[in-house]
């Protein structure tokens, strides 16, 4: 099940991890990657994980630290299942992969562009189940109205 939080309630705000680059660079870098993680990296960034924390992409050979923020976010979700990981910096390609994870706890601060995968189990704010694109749009329309997102600053 994918738990998606959209409200910074006091009971979860301390658990939300916004800075995915920092989390990955400080707590994931240097460790071995599982085959599943390597597959996720290949799916999102089209990067092949090499030895010695190197990756090979269309841009050439670089460090694992050069992975995109969206890709680092996906790995963080796998590595830290007890934390709530913000996906606000993820592109739709990264979100597509993340929503196919069996389990995840994520924070979504605004309506991301995505397609709800068939058969996925998304639960928003611990109460509202979303099973398709129409329900996803309806959820966000309601949430944006509630919090006055489109009032001019």
């Amino acid at each position: 099940m994918i738990n998606i939080y959209t409200k910074k309630d006091s009971n979860i705000s301390d658990k939300i991890q916004y800075f995915n680059d920092r989390l990955f660079n400080t707590e994931v870098f240097g460790s071995e990657f599982t085959d599943n993680e390597k597959q996720v990296i290949e799916q999102i960034d089209h990067a092949k994980v090499m030895d010695h924390m190197k990756i090979e992409t269309d841009f050439g050979i670089g460090s694992i630290l050069d992975l995109s923020t969206g890709c680092k976010t996906a790995i963080n979700i796998l590595r830290f299942p007890n934390r709530i990981i913000s996906v606000d910096e993820c592109g739709s390609n990264a979100l597509k992969v993340i929503l196919q994870f069996k389990e995840a706890n994520i924070f979504m601060g605004f309506p991301a562009t995505l397609h709800v995968p068939e058969g996925s189990e998304l639960v928003f704010d611990e109460t509202e189940k979303v099973e398709n694109d129409l329900e996803y749009e309806a959820f966000w329309s309601k949430r944006c109205r509630e919090r006055g997102d489109y009032d001019i600053v």
């Binding site: 916004y18 800075f19 680059d21 920092r22 999102i44 960034d45 089209h46 990067a47 992409t57 269309d58 841009f59 050439g60 050069d66 992975l67 995109s68 923020t69 969206g70 890709c71 976010t73 913000s86 606000d88 910096e89 993820c90 592109g91 739709s92 390609n93 990264a94 601060g109 605004f110 991301a112 562009t113 997102d149 489109y150 009032d151 001019i152 600053v153």
Partner: protein, 134 residues
């Protein structure tokens, strides 16, 4: 004010050739399409001939909000902008028209932008350019 109408940035074997049509440009798109890579190379160019007015911010920047408010006549690049900008920052971006902004972000709520402000990066061979989203 548009300070830079064009920017060329060599990034290893790739070349970014960027054309700016608006004071605010928001780079969106898939993860891994070269946004942070561009930021990294802009850091190398910052302060060199022709790139003197470029100021860069990302999640590592100290005193971001305070420093942003002090910017005048600058080309301001902000990576991680979805998690960096608060409403006061957005007001500054909207109303301080003497600055130009290049923002890497996906949520453009409360930013005054034109439809062609929203771009993604499109690679053609070794050349990477902006492609309008709308």
């Amino acid at each position: 004010m548009i300070l830079y109408k064009n920017l060329s940035v060599r990034a290893g074997t790739k070349m970014y050739q960027l054309e700016f049509k608006n004071r605010i440009t928001i780079v969106m798109g898939d993860s891994g399409n070269g946004k942070t890579y561009l930021y990294k190379f802009l850091e190398e160019y910052r302060g060199t001939d022709g790139y003197e007015d470029i100021v860069l911010f990302n999640y590592k920047s100290d005193d971001f909000h305070k420093r942003l408010q002090g910017m005048r006549n600058k080309f301001i690049v902000i990576d991680n902008a979805d998690i960096m900008l608060d409403d006061t920052d957005k007001q500054f971006i909207n109303f301080h028209k003497e600055n130009q902004f290049l923002l890497f972000k996906r949520d453009f709520t409360n930013l005054f932008i034109n439809p062609n402000s929203l771009v993604t990066l499109k690679q053609d061979g070794n050349i990477i350019r902006f492609k309008e989203v709308l």
